[in-house]
């Protein structure tokens, strides 16, 4: 039960692909718990393990108001995506002070290992779908602004540098 420090860009770990976990152990469950505590402290709707420097394909998502719908994912893969896109204003605590409208499939079906280690397939829509995809990007060393056009991406990064001073 620890709120961990969130890495800031240009930390290279945020740009590196993570490794699959081989098994859902108590250690993995402890990392998930720290990730949930860290997500709640932000507060945010999801977190990928590399954001706290853990280079494993682990993510957590909770978009509920009551913060009682914890979704723990290990080795998540999108197996089906809607052709209909949804635009959401996304941001990251790894690059504070800026955000951008990102277009992603409005629904996805994701295969992952749950907290018991079972392989499950689950459908996500709305903000859940956006957050799950955003976290899966983190596990591949990608950030939301990589999905913008070059012009928009450069503008956002310039704005972020200015914020930092």
């Amino acid at each position: 039960m620890t709120v961990r420090t969130i890495l800031q860009l240009p930390d290279k770990r945020l740009r590196s692909p993570c490794e699959d976990v081989t098994e859902v152990t108590d250690d993995v469950r402890a990392i998930w718990q720290d990730m949930i505590d860290t997500m709640d402290a932000m507060p945010g709707v999801g977190l990928g393990a590399p954001q706290i420097g853990v280079m494993l394909r682990l993510a957590v998502v909770d978009t509920s108001e009551a913060r009682d719908k914890r979704i723990r994912l290990a080795n998540p893969e999108v197996i089906d995506a809607s052709a209909i896109m949804n635009v959401h204003e996304e941001a990251s605590p790894c690059l504070p002070g800026v955000s951008a409208k990102v277009s992603r499939p409005r629904g996805v079906r994701v295969k992952y290992l749950d907290e018991t280690g079972a392989s499950v397939e689950r459908d996500f829509v709305g903000l859940d779908a956006t957050s799950v995809q955003h976290q899966i990007d983190h596990l591949a060393g990608k950030l939301y602004f990589d999905r913008l056009s070059k012009v928009k991406r450069d503008m956002l990064l310039r704005r972020a540098r200015k914020m930092k001073g």
Partner: protein, 164 residues
């Protein structure tokens, strides 16, 4: 088995996003059976969860039963994988907006993936009326009705006709 009351627009439940179905429980099986019975009784060719107040991603459909044998389809967590660039306009009615038909332009062909009541995954392409029907039902799961596809003027005229 029972025929359920159908919610009428502008019930707020028809404007809300439905939650994915997590597990195929006896309740979901019973809901699907009731929805089919309600659709055939209406009579209609498609019915989505929120139209009977079930805020879950489920719809039932049978586009041909009025002309031939019943061929019911139950779709859980449906998703459009592909939509054609080509569009088609169909006159669409809605059990939740009785008495009103609206000309709605949509992709003419779609490929949909869904989970069946048996837990299996299905992928199928739909064209013609069936393509419009699956998109109409899927819209309901995202809080969208035919009115939302119309330009402001057409919408206002049809809303006035509906209110009259």
């Amino acid at each position: 088995m029972s025929v359920l009351p159908i919610l009428l627009w502008p019930d707020p439940r028809l404007m809300d996003i439905c939650a994915p179905i997590e597990a195929i429980t006896p309740e979901i099986e019973a809901l699907a059976a009731d929805m089919l019975e309600t659709m055939y009784a209406a009579p209609g060719r498609g019915l989505a969860g929120p139209q009977v107040g079930a805020m879950q991603r489920i719809f039932v459909m049978d586009v041909g039963w009025k002309e031939g044998k019943p061929d019911p389809l139950v779709c859980l967590n449906p998703m459009l994988q592909e939509v054609s660039k080509e569009r088609a306009t169909n006159s669409e009615g809605c059990l939740s907006i009785p008495g009103i038909s609206a000309d709605v332009s949509r992709p003419a062909q779609v490929q949909m993936v869904w989970t069946g009541l048996n837990g299996g995954r299905y992928v199928q392409s739909f064209t013609g009326f069936a393509a419009a029907c699956v998109q109409h039902e899927l819209d309901h799961l995202d809080g969208v009705v035919t009115f939302d596809h119309l330009d402001a003027q057409t919408r206002a005229a049809l809303e006035a006709e509906y209110a009259a």
